[in-house]
Each structure stands twice: as C-alpha cells, then as structure tokens.
C-alpha cells in the first residue's frame, strides 16, 4: 500500500518536473523554510535544532579533555558522529551507522574541518598531552529530505554557541569556542537536466544524482561530494557550484551572521 502511494507520488512529481514545477510550488533553487533554535539541550556544550521544511535535525556538541593524536600533538580533536535513528524515517534501521550515515557524518566533519572553522591549535591544553576533544553528534529526527544540508547547518550553529567547559575540568573559566569560518553545505539533485536545490524526500527518490557543495565565507569551496548512481556533465557541476555558493551566502547571512 505504502509502495503504491509512493509510486503515485513519484509519478506526480515526475510529471510536475517535466513542466518545470515542484510539488510544493518552490522554484528550482529555492530552499524550504529554515529555522534554527540554539542551546536547546542544556546538557550539551552547544546545540542546535535545525528545521528545513519538515526535516528536523538536532546537533549537540560535547567537549572533554583527552589525548591528542600522535601526529598532531598540539591540536584539538574533532569527532563527528551521525545517528540516523529509526524514529526519523521508515527506511532507517536500528544498529551501527550504515554507509549512508557514515557518509553524512564524514561530510559534516569535512565541512567543519576543511574550512578550518574551529581553531584546533587553540584547543591544545598541554602540548602533546592534553587537548580538547570536540564531539559533534548529529541526531536526525525527521527525514523529509536533504538532511545533509540541515545537519551541516546544525553543526556550525551548535559550534557557534558552544561554551568550552573549562571550569568543569579545573582548566580555568569557561569561554565561547572561537569559530573562524561558517561552512555551509548546499545540495542539488539532477533530474532530466533540471537542477533542484534542497530536494524533498520524494524528489530525492526520483532523482539518482546529487551534488553537495560546501563553501566558506570567502566563497571558496572546501568540500564537494557527488552521491547517487547517476552522472553529471562538467557544465552541470559548474552551474551547481555557482548557485550553491550564492545560496550558502544567503543562508549564512540570514541565519549565522545575524
């Protein structure tokens, strides 16, 4: 029954697309409504609940002192994890993260890491001995499409309000985690040579190619990832990049620099 409905939905969306329309009336490069609530989890050092249309992602940041990696003795450590808990979608299953969850976590991580948003050197406590470990935990609550962009936005939002819990560990006074960049992930799917940003879950189901661009304040690209079993022409890639950087700028200005 579910499958029949979903096939009908797909046909509906497919036919709309051929007419140049989207099911919810958006333009092809238009994002759904975004809302960000920060500091929603008192037990976390930083947290943010991001709603992207009906998609909901909660990101919590926890910090604790720990050992640095041997090959970077003077730098803090970022560990990003994503839980695609079965509460969020009929297609998520209990158990350790599968390749979809791992890819999502690694992309969120890549945005934070490659943009150098967090000054890892500043997270060194005792060189070679003790550094801050920053755990970024992404908890998907409702997957109505494009949870990667939501998770990425949630991560930087949570980091922006993260307080380093120094006093709890006898390491001086708490202070706000310094953030140096604001990486934003923007994803588009390709279907019949149409490029659609911020795909809903039904749109994701019909398209089989997605490209994610993570861009920085400077308008540079710090991460990309093609996913899905389709192909992209180089021109499509460049077109996505142009729009993605523009969209990222809008989102950044509206939600992170306000």
């Amino acid at each position: 029954m579910t499958n029949v409905i979903s096939e009908i939905k797909k046909d509906f969306i497919y036919n709309l697309l051929l007419k140049g329309e989207r099911a919810d009336g958006r333009t092809f490069d238009q994002y759904r409504e975004i809302s960000i609530q920060r500091d929603v989890i008192r037990k976390a050092e930083g947290s943010a609940l991001v709603k992207l249309g009906s998609s909901q992602v909660l990101v919590g940041v926890k910090m604790q002192p720990g050992e640095p990696f041997p090959d970077s003795p003077n730098r803090g450590v970022i560990i990003t994890n994503a839980e695609l808990v079965p509460l969020a979608s009929p297609s998520f299953e209990p158990g350790p993260p599968n390749e979809v969850g791992i890819e999502l976590a690694r992309l969120v991580d890549r945005g934070v890491r490659e943009s150098k948003a967090v000054d890892l050197e500043a997270l060194c406590i005792v060189p070679g001995k003790q550094v801050w470990i920053v755990f970024i935990d992404v908890h998907i609550l409702d997957d109505c499409g494009n949870i990667l962009d939501a998770a990425s936005l949630g991560a930087i939002s949570a980091l922006l309000c993260t307080k380093v819990p120094a006093s709890k560990f006898g390491l001086g006074e708490d202070y706000i985690l310094p953030i140096r960049d604001l990486p934003i992930a923007t994803s588009a799917i390709e279907f019949n040579d149409v490029l659609m940003f911020d795909p809903g879950v039904d749109e994701e189901a019909i398209a089989n190619t997605k490209l994610t661009i993570i861009s920085t304040i400077e308008g540079n690209i710090c991460g990309t990832q093609k996913s899905g079993t389709g192909m992209l022409k180089p021109e499509q890639v460049y077109r996505i990049i142009d729009i993605a950087c523009e969209k990222a700028k809008e989102i950044r200005e509206k939600f992170l620099e306000a």
């Binding site: 989890i41 037990k43 926890k62 839980e83 509460l87 009929p90 755990f135 609550l141």
Partner: protein, 248 residues
C-alpha cells in the same frame, strides 16, 4: 544510591520548590514528526523525550513474524549529548532492559491481534535526561501510539515515586534520584492496572505501598495531560472517534 550531606528539604519543600507529592511541569505535544505514523514530544522537568510509532507494518526479518498477532518492538535510546558525560552512541545494557520493560508496559493495552504477521515499532529518543527518562518515554510512546491510530484498550501513564531523607516523594529529579534511598517507577492504565513496576533502593513493605500509591496518583495526573494533548490535536477533526476510543 547513597545518602549524602545533601539537604533534600527546606521549609517542607524540595530542592526545586515542589511539595513531596507534586509532579514536575509536564508538556506534551502530539504529532511532531512528519515521517512517523504517530509521534509525541514530552518534557517532564528537565527531560526532553521524543517518541515515534511506525506500523503496523511488515516484519523484517520474517522469522520474527507471529501468525496470530502483531509483535511490538520498543527501542529506548539516549542521544550522546543527552547526559552530563557524553554517552557512546548505541544501546548499552541499561537501555536493553528499559526497552524490554517499557515494551511490556505498553503491550498489555495494544490490540495486537488486529494485525497478525505485522510489527508495531515504537522508537523513543531521549534528547535530554534529568531522571525519569523511562517514564517520560512511556508517556510519550503511549500518546504516539494513539496518534498513529493503533487500537488500544486504554491509555498508559507512567510516573515514579522515590524515597529521600526517609520521605516518600513523587517524580524524583536528578539529585533525588542520584542520592535518594529508593526509586519506584510504575506505569498503569487509567483503571489502575499496573503494567510496569520496577524498584531499587530500600523500602519497608509499608513504604512500598505508600510509594506505589503516590506514583499511581502521579500517573493519573499525567493521564489527564496526555488526554488533553490528544483532544487538543484532534478536537477540530470531524470524526474524532478513534481518539475518543483511545482515551475513553
């Protein structure tokens, strides 16, 4: 659980200003998730818990199917950031036990025989923990089941009583739970049929009775809030039949 130097009462009131038999503030929202068949968000004191219900749906793997009824699965899970010290993701022994007793708290009222060979999945995510996550989870899950239209004999409401400084108290918060003398969570139907009962600590048989009765009183108060939350959501509907059936 040890008693310490903590003073649990001041002028007859508890650390957070409550009387011994008073609940923490409770807030319930119904239908908060788009993908789930039913869902509920609850705050009980500092606890923030969300529950989703999927089903009745097909069972995977197949060999778990029951020919004459739906199976019920319940997954209690804590977000890594929900507690003071970051919790490793994934289930631990505690969450396996809580999932089992929580499932057994709800299954008695679910009309599983209506849906042979299928599964009703209940997923509970603890987003912030503050003592009482299992009772909060059961309360949210019961409302989410109703929201999903799962036929139930009655609502289930859950609350704990505890003992601190030799006094029986309702709905212990974190400090009372950590340093108190006993914790007794229950779940029950509006008729007072008990579907969950656990206890640890130390109680005389008489204290035990008083704690059970106080917890049942708390559960009855929570039932009213559950009922109201469902009525609020479904009051505009032209045919609120199944809601009525649920909360009757």
């Amino acid at each position: 659980m040890d008693e310490t130097d903590i003073t649990f009462f001041k002028d007859g009131l508890r650390l957070d200003g409550r009387r011994a038999d008073q609940l923490r503030p409770v807030k319930i929202e119904v239908g908060v998730l788009a993908r789930a068949d039913g869902s509920c968000y609850i705050e009980m004191g500092g606890n923030k818990v969300i529950a989703a219900v999927y089903g009745p749906r097909e069972v995977h793997p197949r060999h778990l199917q029951e020919v004459s009824r739906a199976i019920v699965r319940y997954r209690y899970n804590m977000a890594s950031f929900s507690v003071e010290e970051r919790k490793r993701p994934g289930p631990d022994r505690r969450s396996y036990e809580l999932s089992k007793v929580s499932r057994e708290a709800l299954e008695p009222v679910i009309l599983t025989s209506f849906f042979p060979r299928s599964v009703i999945d209940v997923f509970v995510e603890v987003l912030q923990a503050d003592a009482g996550t299992r009772t909060a989870g059961i309360n949210a899950a019961a409302v989410a089941l109703a929201d999903a239209g799962i036929p139930m004999k009655s609502m289930i409401s859950s609350c704990a009583a505890g003992k601190v400084a030799d006094t029986i108290v309702l709905d212990p918060m974190k400090e009372e739970d950590n340093f108190g003398q006993a914790d007794l969570p229950i779940a029950m139907t509006p008729n007072g049929d008990i579907t969950l009962m656990q206890m640890d600590g130390g109680l005389t048989p008489d204290e035990f009775r008083r704690a059970v009765e106080m917890a049942m009183k708390g559960a009855r108060d929570i039932y009213e809030i559950q009922r109201q939350a469902l009525v609020n959501k479904y009051s505009q509907l032209t045919d609120p039949g199944h809601v009525e059936a649920v909360v009757q």
